[in-house]
Amino acid sequence: MQTRRQAIKKSAVVAGLLASTGLFPQFAFAAYNTPAFEAKSIQDALKALGAGAPAESKDITVTGPDIAENGAVVPLGVSTTLTGVKRMLIMVEKNPASLTALFNMTDSVEPSFSTRAKMGQSSDVYAVAIMGDGKVLFAKKEVKVTLGGCGG
């Protein structure tokens, strides 16, 4: 005989499994990929996104300041000249969770995005492109983070 606790645990697991099949959408929080945004490393985040091993590529550009005066607002951009991109990612390696933002491409938008992110400390910033054929390409840049003075 199951205890109530076992029964509840089993149903939660089942609900989770069903949610991942997409058959019971009310259990899933829209399309938001929580595990990817909680993953603590670049590799884990890519795995949660179902992406394979990344390869460095000169066709991907990551933009950002060499030194950010304040880690609360760091302008970061990702772009590429390649076609056939499915998704673009901004990742900050040393943040508590590496994945910062994810952009899903359509034919009507250029593979070029800029935003501002919080960086807890100096870190490599990655621009990642997940291609339609499954290839994962990246470029990285070191962004140093420092605190400025007392105001002004």
Binding site: P65, D66, E69, N70, A72, L147, G148, C150, G151, G152
Partner: protein, 267 residues
Amino acid sequence: MRMTKTLSLIALLGLTGSAVWAQKSAVQSIEEYRLMLQDGNPADLFEAKGEALWKQKRGPKNASLEQCDLGKGPGVFKGAFVELPRFFADTNRVQDMESRLLTCMETLQGLNAAEIAKTPFGRGEQNNVTALATWLAAESKDKKFNLSQSHPQEKVFYEVGKRLFFQRAGAHDFSCASCHGQDNTRIRLQDLPNLTKNPGDGIGFAAWPAYRVSNGQMWGMQQRLNDCYRQQRFPYPGFGSDATIALGVYLGVNSKGSASIAPAIKR
């Protein structure tokens, strides 16, 4: 012997040369970072809010601020910011932008100016004052400061502001001049402008209100001045106090001819 001396001199020059080069590079990088932030200043969001508040009927009198006289006549807001603080006959005092907004919020809308002045920054009506000041500053963006010194009270306030600027007091014996009284000083990576003279376009008085990225807050000149006092280990002189307005006159008159870049974006 001479050879060694020459060699060591060259070596020394080389070292200091590279140190200077490296330092310049870091400063350059920070400048680049600041430039990157210029496009897409969250101050825009406060501007939009301020503009809406100017036109919105509010308060017990259910009136807008559109008849507010900021020194250039009722309802004239373009260019008003760069002429403040100035003397106002209806209140018989020298006022800056934020204290003048309080006057209008009370006389036109029936809100309680004293209550708003007591409200801490970032709360309640203070947020509305900040948004209004941000929008009004934007309506004078790139215009040059041109404060009046024709009324006797304006002259008095300049002298009072100057005296306050140099007055050392408090537990740490600080004055404004401790940080802002000379050229070529900085705190860590923050350049400290010399505010005893005209610091140039967009510097010092000409850079507030500003959005501070370090805390995501929009700060008007009142908050900037009150917080300077806090940093000097003084109590806040108070929102719209004569002390802060006098300092505003001193700084604003010193900035005559320089362009305002407010609302700016800062660390």
